[in-house]
């Protein structure tokens, strides 16, 4: 299997080269050097080359512009012959919402190239492109991604929007800096008797929060590499940019958090993506590459996603600036003359809280009980997520992902909870995955050791959830222990989970130079400090050498996902004459796809249009039976059938058209003769 992957990668490269030679004479940077991360200009060139070589089945469109004016590219792949593309089920692949997650762009680009190169020879690909569609938006955040190619690596996740992150009346005035001129913005550790951190005894390169319960003592503070340029007591709390685009969508939007933007969909990029998907309601499934996950670890039976795993060194530095937005809250109990500051109530007219009729007295809201939006996957949909997740691990070999973020405001969550389709996210790689040449990775070599099973990076289990039972035994290390559920439904929130050790082991094993060793530095205000830590982009991107292999496996996975979509058909029809111009029409409508025409939540959320069955007669000619226009909320997958019948008045010999339209499952028509 692995050898096949590699073989295919080589074949693909060859095919791309071949098609470039035949169709366009422009140089094809992708083919010449597949093992690289593409700058915006290179990505644009690669997309254009790929599309130019397959003009008949692919086109490139700009769905909008980034804040800095870069086109946001979408590549649409479909053979336009036959059913109009807008009526076919489509898979949306979108990536690189987080500026530093450039691997996502590469996987998306690989998918485009894989599908286009394979169209001629691979019947599986051909079938999808002839009858379905693929929409690929490889880089939603080009302004952020471009920083990967800047001389100093910051690892910035946000776009380029000017934002006053600490709300102090000045925007972007205090960025972290590369003080020691090594080309990376990392972190500083400073000996500080009040500091809560200590050198991690398990690996002296790492830091951990001292646990007083275990008799541990801190002694270090950790800051972002930089100086306090705005003299507010915080280092690097308000750098250039912006908005984290995967925090800017509406599901569980983190209101008023600095990186989430001023409001939902405040950004040109996020609005462009939403307008695009809303214009393409035939999108029946969404695959995103990003820093959240529901593929490597499947949702729990309760519908929660796995817990976040973060990088401690990054979180510790972030903690040093957490108070920047609180400075200047004046808690004056007595606010001077006539004070209405906190705690003062000076005019007899106000009898305390909510004294007015406008106050919150025991009033009952009218208009029915309050509803609230779903936050866990509908129980009826979970099996689909579980099955796809299992297939993902099998096809890609990615066993664990790291780091993984909570998905508040992420696009893929919108895709399920509000757009109503199966929607997925994966970092697209992980420190434990199959390699191209062996079935057991170096990373897997330590799967079995105690550190992995019970070690610091494996969070609390999901209580009684026998997560391991759902999976092939031993296939997903750590899965048995569960990757603790998100805090929900009164469950105690698990503590933060850090993946530093595992990340470092992977880097060591793979000989990745991803960690800057601590170096002493004379800081202008802090004095003697040490600068070091993970190199920003190496935390979330695998080495470029892995792109080809991951690209192929993810392209195949995308093709697999597209094969699951619902397909509605008029299975059987029957016309019987009762004499006197009265006819009975019977029809069975079936869904031959694996997925239902709408997930349960697609129905609940009213996001997916019901499947429409319409008989082309004058409504006055229907004497009994179904209405001229009937709807069914969802046709089950894998052969779900609905029967209809009408008794109509008509001229013998006349023809009647029967039409079935499913938003996510295509359309079908039948012509019936009244006889």
């Amino acid at each position: 299997m692995q050898r096949t992957c590699a073989g295919t990668a080589r074949t693909r490269a060859a095919l791309v080269v071949l098609s470039m030679l035949v169709v366009c004479t422009a140089t094809a940077p992708r083919a010449a050097d597949p093992a690289k991360y593409h700058s915006y200009q290179e990505l644009t060139a690669a997309l254009n080359s790929a599309v130019a070589a397959h003009k008949d089945i692919a086109r490139i469109v700009s769905i909008g512009k980034s804040g800095q004016g870069r086109d946001l590219w979408a590549v649409e792949i479909a053979n336009p012959a036959g059913t109009p593309v807008a009526e076919r089920p489509a898979l949306l692949v979108a990536a690189n919402f987080e500026g530093d997650h450039v691997i996502g762009s590469e996987l998306a680009l690989s998918t485009i190239e894989y599908l286009l190169a394979g169209y001629a020879a691979d019947p599986a690909i051909r079938q999808r492109i002839d009858t379905q569609a693929f929409y690929v938006i490889p880089r939603v955040n080009p302004d952020g991604a471009e920083l990967m190619f800047a001389p100093v690596k910051t690892g910035r996740r946000t776009n380029a929007t000017v934002f006053d992150a600490d709300n102090d009346g000045r925007a972007d005035e205090d960025a972290a800096e590369d003080l020691n001129k090594d080309g990376y913005v990392t972190v500083m550790r400073v000996k500080d008797p009040k500091g809560p951190y200590m050198i991690d005894p398990a690996d002296p390169r790492l830091m951990k929060r001292a646990d007083p319960a275990k008799g541990e003592q801190g002694g270090y503070s950790i800051y972002w590499e930089g100086t306090d340029k705005d003299n507010d007591g915080f280092i690097g709390e308000d750098g250039p940019g912006g908005v984290d685009l995967n925090r800017n969508f509406m599901h569980q939007y983190p209101y008023y958090q600095p990186d989430a933007g001023r409001y939902m969909v405040s950004e040109a990029e996020t609005r462009a993506v939403l307008d695009y998907v809303l214009k393409h309601r035939n999108i029946a499934g969404i695959l995103t590459y990003g820093e959240s996950d529901n593929l490597v670890v499947a949702p729990s039976r309760r519908g929660d996603l796995g817990a976040a795993i973060s990088v401690g060194l990054v979180e510790f530095a972030n903690a040093s600036i957490a108070g920047a937005r609180r400075t200047g809250m004046i808690q004056d109990a007595a606010g001077g003359i006539g004070g209405r500051g906190m705690g003062m109530m000076i005019m007899g007219e106000y009898e305390g809280v909510g004294g007015g009729r406008g106050g919150a007295q025991a009033q009952t809201g009218r208009g029915g009980p309050a509803r609230s939006a779903a936050t866990t996957i509908n129980a009826a949909d979970i099996d689909y997520f579980t099955a796809v997740s299992e297939k993902y691990r099998e096809m890609t070999g990615v066993r664990t992902a790291l780091p993984v973020r909570t998905p508040a405001g992420a696009f893929f969550e919108y895709g399920y909870y509000q757009y109503g389709v199966p929607s997925f996210s994966t970092p697209g790689w992980g420190p434990q995955m199959r390699t191209a040449t062996t079935t057991t990775t170096t990373a897997e070599a330590f799967d079995g050791n105690a550190e992995t099973r019970g070690g610091p990076f494996v969070p609390q289990g999901r209580g009684g959830q026998a997560g391991g039972g759902q999976r092939p035994g031993g296939a997903a290390p750590g899965a048995g222990a569960g990757r603790g559920a998100m805090p929900a439904g009164g469950e105690a929130a698990p503590g933060p989970v850090y993946g530093d050790q595992r990340l470092l082991r992977w880097m060591d094993a793979e000989k990745i130079d991803g960690f800057v060793a601590w170096q002493p530095y004379k800081h202008p205000t802090l004095g003697d400090v040490e600068i070091g830590g993970f190199k920003p982009y190496d935390i979330v991107n695998p080495p470029a050498a892995r792109i080809a292999e991951l690209g192929t496996s993810h392209a195949k996975f995308a093709l697999y996902l597209a094969s699951l979509f619902p397909r509605v058909k008029i299975a059987t029809t029957e016309v019987t004459s009762h004499g006197g111009g009265i006819f009975r029409i019977k029809a069975d409508v079936v869904n031959t796809g694996y997925l239902p025409t709408s997930l349960a939540h697609g129905v609940v959320s009213r996001a997916v249009r019901p499947t429409m069955i319409q008989l082309g007669v004058d409504p006055a000619d229907i004497i009994a039976g179904n209405e001229k226009t009937s709807f069914t909320a969802a046709l089950a997958g894998s052969g779900g059938t609905q029967s209809y019948q009408w008794i109509v008045k008509g001229k013998p010999g006349a023809t009647v058209t029967l039409k079935v339209v499913s938003q996510k499952g295509g359309t079908d028509t039948a012509t019936l003769k009244l006889q």
């Binding site: 003359i337 500051g341 000076i346 106000y350 007015g356 319409q614 001229k628």
Partner: protein, 627 residues
């Protein structure tokens, strides 16, 4: 204040002058004597002239018309409803008459391509727009809720016509900026004004209501061509219906006991335009443009009509872009109809009540609103009206940190507006009893103009029906002859709110030498208005930039800064724990009706400049000498 000083005040028209002249304790009002200023040109109570006698009026100056009435420069109608073109034309007429103060602009286009009209009122002599707190007043987000548009127009007109004539109006225009947007939903307004009626609440973004793939293809129809989409009722024979005509008035149907009914209601006037067997099921809109805002926005299945994402509607986006670009906006009013309410957020209980200090400010404003607006009650949206997610004033309050109200204009209690008539209405046999009161009012005060009598019509699907009912201008909007009062009272309340927007002042300063080149500097910071410079909720959400107090001076070093609990009773002063003491950040601003004293410990000598900057409360400076 003398007449002379009044004239000086008006001609100079300076807000700063007002601040100097008037003690803060008068709550921003010009001194009581001012009112005489305008009145001084009016004669004292004229006694009626003895009949048949040609009386000389020696107190009248030569050639001056003996009028106590004002002469308007611009004449507008406030006894009828304006369509969008008429609103815009009137706004442009006013702009032409008062070019110094008024600026008309279109801030964007609606889905159908109409301009979204906005008027800015600003006196450039008293500072640039963004340097003064602004009151934003809008109306008509629901297309059928039209009358707020007239109030906006009236407000512009009244402020301009009375500037320089009424002191408090002059002062208000000098101190504040006004943004007036008479129709948020011009597409809906014109659909209401010119269309035959039907649902004009929405704007016109295309939505497929009936899931058939076609958009807005089956809208209501004016079948009988009388210009109104009214109701259809059908005579079905005795015993077959659930309604019957009332004994006294055949226009009115009442529920009938089983077996005694001969009528049924068929629904709104309409036909099956798209041939799907259903009547009028997909008209324009059908969403709610007042659920498309970004605070507590919820998807459509939780909050019906919210659309796919906040600010998806071009009207909402244009307005939000404007609001975000004008952080000086410190007050919002969004006019709706009806019911007679002065509403504030939150729209949903789940959002949680506002912090206490914010409630105090809202309550003071809201209670005074009730005093200005008989038949209106001050209520919280979720508890007093119904739950709203993603509403406009929740966005302006929570997302933009602006004190926001929404008036539900017109209460049909105003049809019979005396205690005696209310008492009469309790009698079920009274001609103005609740079930028939509307008909009596229409017959006697509108001369029957608002009701279309039932007429037979042959309907393509339903056979013989009767078409008739109330016109669209009855019920939710006041009778035309009562409109001007509605305009004035509601305007007065928004002007009061505008006056109570924050306004920072630097009061007393004191310098005391404590050592070699070291001084204690006390500075009083006052906000005499009801509204704080930054709402507590806005501070929590970090949606308003903080107030800043800066110290500038050559070679001056600030050793410490603290808040003085009381100037007159020594107590321990809490040090302000900030790194940069020359630029103090007040993240939760200056509360309403408060003077806060800050103490600096300063090393240096000479002049220092103290500057307090508040995005919503203005900017003030004062120099102090260290000696």
């Amino acid at each position: 204040m003398t007449k002379t000083s009044f004239k000086w005040l008006v001609s100079a028209g300076l807000a700063l002058a007002v601040t100097v002249c008037v003690a803060p304790s008068t709550n921003g009002q010009a001194g009581g004597g001012d009112r005489q200023g305008a009145g001084a040109q009016k004669p004292p109570q004229a006694k009626p002239a003895p009949q048949g006698q040609n009386v000389q009026k020696p107190w009248l100056p030569e050639n001056q018309a003996p009028t106590s009435e004002r002469m308007w420069k611009v004449h507008l109608d406030f006894n009828r409803w304006h369509d969008v073109a008429e609103l815009i034309a009137d706004m442009k007429t006013l702009e032409k008459a008062y070019p110094k103060f008024l600026k008309y602009q279109s801030i964007g286009r609606t889905y159908d391509g109409r301009d979204i009209p906005l008027m800015t009122i600003n006196n450039p002599d008293t500072g640039a727009e963004l340097s003064k707190a602004a009151m934003y007043i809008e109306a008509n987000v629901h297309g059928n809720e039209i009358q707020g548009g007239e109030i906006c127009l009236y407000t512009i007109w009244y402020l301009m016509e009375n500037y320089g004539k009424i002191d408090r109006i002059t002062k208000l225009v000098n101190e504040r900026v006004f943004y007036l947007l008479p129709t948020v939903n011009p597409d809906g307004r014109d659909w209401f004004m010119h269309g035959p009626g039907g649902n004009a609440r929405s704007s016109h973004f295309p939505v497929d209501d009936d899931n058939d793939g076609a958009v807005d293809e089956d809208w209501p129809a004016d079948l009988n061509g009388d210009g109104v989409v009214s109701q259809m009722r059908k005579y079905v024979g005795m015993g077959n219906g659930n309604m019957r005509k009332t004994a006294d008035d055949p226009r009115i149907l009442e529920p009938a006991p089983f077996g005694k009914g001969d009528y049924i209601m068929v629904g709104s006037e309409g036909i099956d335009r798209d041939g799907d067997g259903r009547v009028g099921e997909d008209g324009p809109g059908s969403y709610d443009p007042n659920r498309n805002w970004a605070a507590d926005w919820q998807p459509n299945y939780v909050q019906g009509g919210s659309m796919d994402y906040p600010f998806q509607l071009p009207e909402a986006k244009a307005i939000n872009d404007f609001l975000v670009a004008h952080p000086n906006i410190a007050g919002v009013q969004s006019y709706h109809n009806n019911g007679g309410m002065i509403l504030r957020g939150p729209g949903a209980e789940s959002v949680g009540e506002y912090p206490r200090t914010d409630v105090v400010a809202y309550d003071e404003l809201g209670r005074n609103a009730e005093r200005m607006l008989p038949y209106y009650r001050y209520l919280v949206i979720w508890s007093g009206l119904y739950t709203v997610h993603g509403g406009f004033i929740d966005w302006t309050a929570d997302g933009l940190g602006v004190v926001s109200f929404s008036n539900e204009l017109w209460n049909n209690g105003q049809y019979y507006n005396s205690p005696e008539l209310k008492e009469q209405q309790k009698d079920p046999n009274s001609p103005i009893a609740p079930g028939v009161a509307n008909y009596w009012f229409n017959d006697n005060l509108e001369f029957g103009d608002q009701f279309i009598d039932w007429k037979e019509f042959e309907h393509p699907q339903f056979g013989k029906v009767e078409v008739g009912g109330w016109k669209k201008t009855y019920g939710r909007v006041p009778p035309r002859f009562m409109t001007e009062e509605m305009c004035h009272r509601n305007m007065a309340w928004t002007l009061y709110q505008a006056d109570e927007m924050p306004k920072v002042q630097i009061g007393e300063t004191k310098v005391e030498r404590v050592g070699e080149n070291v001084y204690k500097v006390w500075v009083d910071l006052t906000n005499p208005k009801v509204v704080p410079t930054i709402l507590a909720k806005a501070a929590q959400n970090a949606v308003v930039p903080p107030d800043l107090l800066t110290v500038e001076g050559r070679d001056v070093q600030v050793i410490a800064a603290s808040v003085v609990p009381s100037k007159f009773r020594p107590a321990v002063q809490q040090l302000i724990d900030q790194q940069d003491l020359k630029r103090l950040v007040f993240r939760n601003g200056l509360p309403g009706k408060t003077t806060r004293t800050i103490q600096y410990l300063v090393k240096g000598s000479g002049e220092i400049a103290l500057t307090y900057t508040s995005v919503k409360g203005g900017k003030v400076e004062k120099g102090v000498t260290l000696k």
